[in-house]
Symmetry: C2
Subunit: 348 residues, 2 copies
DNA sequence: CTTTAGCACTCGTTTCACACGAGTGCTAAT
DNA sequence: ATTAGCACTCGTGTGAAACGAGTGCTAAAG
């Protein structure tokens, strides 16, 4: 069990180390601490903290640095989120004040805003309803054997792809096929749509199309990309600022991880989307790779019926957590509000 | 004027420096050169080359390194493009052997392929016809006040955007408006389209739409993005490998330059697209910023009536130019061929 | 006139010794 | 329980010395 003063010392070590980036010694602490005790006393406390594994030395006679466990303890018991200033709140609102035509645009921009605000790297992931439903499907002939397929889902996602069809399918036949899709499949969750695409839909299409395979390919293809998660990353290059000392290979590894869409990033954010408060995960606690010297703050945001999304902030372990946690907490609310507004616009 | 042997020495210095990355000394040259002369003789030649400004020392008693002028001389008078192996050619063809549905996909992939092939950074820019023409315009209502606008141009570009319209415009009115656009504007160069959008088109639309402003906004907006150039970059992160020694700020500067679409990149590639052979520009010769230790190989590719595009390779100054120039020369042909095939598919 | 052997010289790199100082742990006194 | 005092540790910085790859120059040989 830690004494009151030991807790104070730990907090101060974290504060000073975050500010200066240098190991903190007992004399320095004596000057900075609000209480008046000698450096020897502080040294005793520091020894206890080290025994508890909360701080370490960089070498046998250096100042102390918070350990991963030290940060963990701090985050679990000591941090108190800082309130964001009115000014900052205004900046956020201002940044969101554009007009958006697609849900994705808002989510993408939120990563941008958050990275600008913090000078770290932000990752955002659109709200995901457990069962996205199909609300519309269109095929638009563009001439020259080209067709654009458009798929609309109830979470506001609009997916489109251009396909080249081998022979000219008569637009009459297409019309009918599209009508079948819209009559039979609209309103169903995407998972069910995908299922029926393999079972009874082909035979229904058979009546109108001589070879429904091409059509099914197109539909299946675009269905797949509508169902897959999409990440947006803002401030990739900020990594270079706060990862300064570490070597270039490390940097490349992290950038590749972030740029590789799907899969790995989902794991980094902690698996499938679910509602969580603002959470901090430290480098060694992260999967799929141990991001030494980095930590990740994640938070979910809630858009009611339209699902739950995630927003995350990747930065150095020596982050001003108090401030960042407060910021993210406000930010998630703003983002949720902005998305709710967006949906309200054409939902009723 | 350089003697035959001096030229040989220069070539060998460049070759060895490219291979090893270390300054080349007279003894090393004596071993590697095909002719048998003493190191003293070589030293004399090296002194002449240094007087001519083609090589320099890193310090007063080090081996020699090619100077920018030295590389310039080499590139202007000495390089002979290496033939690409059958294997490599096969790799290129193989990489292009997918099915493409959009012209952009081919161009984007070409940057990817080229960067994989070389481990450098590749930039590609789609073929640009001096006067792109409008070949089609569609508006597809998606429900919920949303409309997707699709614009097709004769260079195979397909641009689409989703808009939210304030009040429900009757689809009847829209139909008519679209017909006007298609009847009046299709076949015209985009520049003329943009012009007429400001002059006589509004009054024509007036007959069918009560407030054509919204429509014109949409159309103008999408027209703009169809007309703007688009760059594709492959192997951004390779920069980290070949820029290893240089500092992290340099790296960030270059990455920002590359990631900032439009504008700066056009300048880097040497202004507006035109037909050029494979060209090498060295760091100090580059605009808008002096990319010390880097050099840029550019080449245009020609797709006949469908315009001329650019492809470029950014790498370290110590590149195996002979090989890279040969490669890029073959690559431009392959890319042109691939695009020609693509257009032929629905052009007749 | 060109080439070569020889040699003194330069300068970056590595190694080692040494001093400095910030910081520690421990002990004994308060 | 706190504090003053002190020996000890260890990273950092400095300077001298040894090393070696490479150079420029001179004088002899071809």
């Amino acid at each position: 069990m830690l004494t009151k003063r030991q807790v104070l010392v730990l907090k101060e070590i974290i504060r000073l180390f975050t500010e200066s980036g240098e190991p903190v010694g007992s004399k320095r602490l004596m000057r900075e601490l609000p209480i008046h005790v000698s450096s020897a006393t502080i040294r005793n406390d520091m020894a206890s903290l080290e025994d508890a594994g909360l701080i370490t030395k960089t070498h046998s006679s250096s100042g102390r640095v918070p350990s991963t466990q030290g940060y963990r303890y701090y985050l679990d018991h000591l941090v108190e989120p800082m309130r964001v200033s009115h000014q900052e709140l205004a900046t956020i609102k201002q940044a969101f004040s554009q007009r958006y035509n697609k849900m994705d645009e808002i989510v993408a921009q939120s990563a941008q805003i958050l990275s600008n605000l913090t000078s770290y790297t932000a990752i955002s992931l659109g709200p995901e309803v457990t069962n996205i439903k199909l609300t519309g499907f269109r095929l638009v002939p563009l001439g020259n054997h080209q067709v654009m397929a458009i798929l609309v889902t109830n979470n506001g996602n609009i997916e489109n792809k251009v396909f080249t069809v081998s022979q000219n399918i008569s637009s009459d036949e297409l019309e009918k096929a599209i009508r079948i899709v819209n009559d039979q499949l609209v309103g169903l969750p995407l998972i069910q749509v995908a299922q029926r695409l393999k079972t009874d839909v082909p035979s229904m299409l058979m009546q109108y199309l001589t070879s429904p395979e091409g059509f099914l390919d197109i539909f299946g293809n675009i269905l797949k990309s509508a169902a897959s998660e999409r990440f947006y990353v803002g401030g990739r290059l900020n990594l270079m600022d706060y990862l300064g000392d570490s070597d270039i290979h490390e940097l490349k590894k992290i950038l590749s991880l972030i740029d590789a869409d799907h899969g790995d990033l989902t794991e980094l954010l902690g698996g499938p989307i679910r509602q969580t408060p603002v959470q901090v995960r430290l480098g060694p606690e992260l999967k799929p790779i141990d991001l030494a010297n980095l930590s990740l703050i994640t938070a979910s945001y809630d858009v009611g019926d339209h699902g739950t999304g995630m927003i995350a902030l990747l930065g150095p372990t020596q982050m001003p957590y108090s401030k960042m946690i407060g910021l993210l907490d406000v930010f998630r609310e703003e983002l949720a509000k902005r998305l709710t507004d967006y949906y309200a616009n054409f939902d009723q």
